[in-house]
Amino acid sequence: MRAWFFTEDAYPYLPDADSYESIRVSLPNKHFDPETGADLYNMYLDMWCAADEMGLNIMNNEHHQTATCMVPAAPIMLGILARETKKARLLILGNPVSNRSQPVRVAEEMALIDVLSRGRLECGFVRGVPYETAPANVFPYRGTEKLWEAHDLIIKAWSHHEGPFNFEGRWFHARQVNIWPRPFQQPHPPVWITMGSAGSAAQVAQRGHVGAVFLAGYPKIRGIFDGYRQAYSDTHGKDMPIDRLAYCALISVGRTEKEGLDVAEKLLWYMTSNKVPPQFSNPPGYHAPAMAATIMRGNNSGTGLPTATTLTEQMARGNVFAGTPDQVYGQIKNFYEYCGGFGNLMMMSQAGFMTFEETLTSMKLFSEEVYPRLKELTAGYDPGEMQEIRASLPDVENIDVSALGSEFVR
C-alpha cells in the first residue's frame, strides 16, 4: 500500500454561509484576505513537507474560483514541492485537461516537475467537477472524450523524441510538438485518471493507468473496482496488479478514539461547506439528462457530496476512517477486503479549520502505527485469495445513496 497525504488547501475563514449563495464560482474574493492566505499557503506546504519526512507520499490538486481550494494552479505548488521534498512521490490529481486549452503546455509543466524532482512525479488527468466549467468557460458536454484526446496528445508529447510531430484532433491542434524538457521517467511518468462508474473505469483499465476513486464508499466501490479489474484482465490477459487502484477517504487518527472522532468532525467541513446552487452544479452537458433532471427537481445537490451529513453516517458509508490507530486500520482493512483490494490510499487528512498540530498528530500516528500494517496487508496480495475474501462479504445494504451524485469525478 502506498499512502498519499492530501489536503485541498481550503480558505475556511468565511462569513455565515447563509449570507452567500455559493462557496464556488461566485463568492466574491473580497472575503479572501491576502495576509491570511499567505499564512495558509505556507502552512499547507509545511504539511506536505512533513509528510515527506514521515515517509508518506504527496497528493495535490486544483480548483478555481472557490474557497474550498486556494490552489488554482496545482503545478505551481508541485513545482515548489519538487524542490523542497526529498523522497515522496508527487501526485497531481489532477490536471483538468478537459478545461485547459493547451495540452502541450500541460505536458511541458509536468515534464519540468518530473525532471526537477528527479523522476518523482505521478501525473493525474481529470475531467473536473461540474462547477469548474463556469470558471473555465468550457461547455462540459463530451468532456470525457476531450480528456482522452488531451491525454493522447500529452502521452505522445512526453514519449516522442525525434523532433516535431503533428496533432489535429477534434478539440486540440498543435502542428509542431517538440517539448523541452522531456520527462525524467521513461517512457513517461505514471498516469492516474479518476473514475466514477464501471464504464469510466474500463477506459482507464484498458490503458493500464491507475484508476482513482473519491468517496464512492461501500454503496458504489464494488461496481467501479470490479469494472476496472474485469476490463484490465480482458485487455491485458492477466490479473490487475494491485497498484492500479486508488481510493480516497477522509482519515483521522487520534491518540484516543475521542480525539480521532473529534478531529474527523472537523474534516467533515470538506463536505458540509460545499454549498453550490444548481446553475453551477448542473451545467448543461455535464450530467446525463436523467441525472440533471433529478437535480432540477431538487432531489440531489449535484455536487456528489452531501451538504448535510453526520460523521457516523459517513463512517458507515466508508467515506471516513477515524478513531485510534487500531480502529482506523480495522476500518481500512474491512473496506479493502470488501472492494477486492487497492494499492493506493489517498488520505484527505486536513480540511477546514484543522490546525497544523492536529493534522501532524494524525499524520504521525498514521505513518507510525497504521501505515506499516497496511503495507504488510497489501504485500501479501494474491488476486485469487482476495476475490475469495471479497466473495465471502455480502453487499452492504440499507445505505441511502440518493444524496450522492452518481458520478463523482473530481
Binding site: F139, P278, G285, R297
Partner: protein, 259 residues
C-alpha cells in the same frame, strides 16, 4: 383547430421532426432554446391563414445530437439542406431567440427562397465591448434570476416541480442542445454584424418590452444593422412575447406579413 401533420425529414443521416400546420403561404418557424413552439396559441392563430413549417432542431424535444455537431454552424448548414429539400418559395422566415440568430445566419447566406424575415427577441450579435454583458448568461443565472429576466408575468412560467420525470429530462436535454449551439462565443457570431447588410427582404423585429435576456436596446442595435428593418415592441411581455401576449404578437406578425 387547423390541420396538422407531423413527419420525419431525413437529411444525410440526421432526422428532424417537422410539423406542418394550417394552409396558405409557407412560414418557416425556427424555435429558440426553450424548444418547440408549434403547440402555442400564437401558432394556432397564424396557421389560420398560413402554413406553418415547424422543424425541431437536433437535440431538442428528446431528439439526439448528431455525433459531428459542435455548434450553431452545423445547424445552419442542416437548415440550408432542409430548405432546399422542402423547395421553399417566397416563404416567411421567423426565428425566436436562438432561432432568430439561426434565421439571420440563413438570411445572410441567401434570401432567395424567402419573402420576409421576422426576428423575435433574437440573439446573434454583440453590440457592446468585451466587458459588457449584452446577453444575460442564462446558464449561470439562478432559477430565480432566470425567471426574473425571462418573464414579465412569472405566473406563465412552467414549473419544474409540477413536471413528470420524463418532461424534466426533455428540458435537461434541451439545455444541453441549447448550450451546444450557443456556448462560445456566447449566443453570437462576431462576424454576423459584418454580414447582416446582405439581408435584402423586409424585416421585422418583434420584442418584449421587459425582456431581461436581450433588452430592447439590444434589439435596436440588431435592427440598425439590417437594412430597412423595423422593430415592434410589445408591452407587458418579456423574452417570450408570443407566449405572454399571443394576441398582440399574432396581430403584429400578421400585419407585417400580410402588408
Amino acid at each position: 383547430m387547423t390541420s396538422e401533420t407531423s413527419s420525419m425529414v431525413s437529411l444525410r443521416g440526421v432526422d428532424m421532426p417537422l410539423i406542418r400546420r394550417g394552409s396558405g403561404p409557407p412560414v418557416l418557424v425556427l424555435h429558440g432554446g426553450d424548444g418547440p413552439v408549434d403547440h402555442l396559441p400564437f401558432a394556432e392563430r397564424i396557421s389560420g391563414s398560413f402554413e406553418l413549417l415547424h422543424p425541431t432542431h437536433p437535440g431538442f424535444d428528446g431528439t439526439p445530437i448528431p455525433e459531428h455537431f459542435d455548434g450553431l454552424q452545423d445547424l445552419i448548414f442542416l437548415y440550408l439542406d432542409l430548405i432546399d429539400s422542402l423547395d421553399l418559395q417566397d416563404a416567411i422566415l421567423v426565428g425566436f431567440s436562438m432561432g432568430g440568430w439561426l434565421a439571420s445566419e440563413i438570411a445572410v447566406m441567401s434570401t432567395g427562397r424567402f419573402s420576409k424575415l421576422v426576428l423575435v427577441d433574437s440573439v446573434g450579435i454583440k453590440p457592446g465591448g468585451p466587458f459588457d454583458r449584452d446577453i444575460a448568461d442564462v446558464f449561470a443565472l439562478s432559477v430565480e434570476e432566470l425567471l426574473q429576466a425571462t418573464w414579465h408575468d412569472r405566473s406563465l412560467a412552467p414549473l419544474h416541480g409540477q413536471m413528470t420525470d420524463a418532461e424534466l429530462q426533455i428540458i435537461a436535454s434541451d439545455k444541453i442542445a441549447h448550450g451546444l449551439y450557443t456556448w462560445e462565443p456566447y449566443m453570437h457570431n462576431p462576424k454576423l454584424r459584418y454580414r447582416l447588410h446582405r439581408i435584402d427582404i423586409p424585416t421585422l423585429l418583434i420584442w418584449g418590452e421587459n425582456d431581461g435576456i436581450v433588452k430592447t436596446e439590444y434589439g435596436a442595435a440588431l435592427r440598425d444593422l439590417i437594412p430597412g428593418a423595423r422593430m415592434s415592441v410589445i408591452p407587458e411581455a418579456g423574452h417570450h412575447p408570443h407566449i405572454e401576449q399571443p394576441g398582440e404578437f399574432a396581430a403584429r406578425f400578421l400585419d407585417f406579413v400580410s402588408g
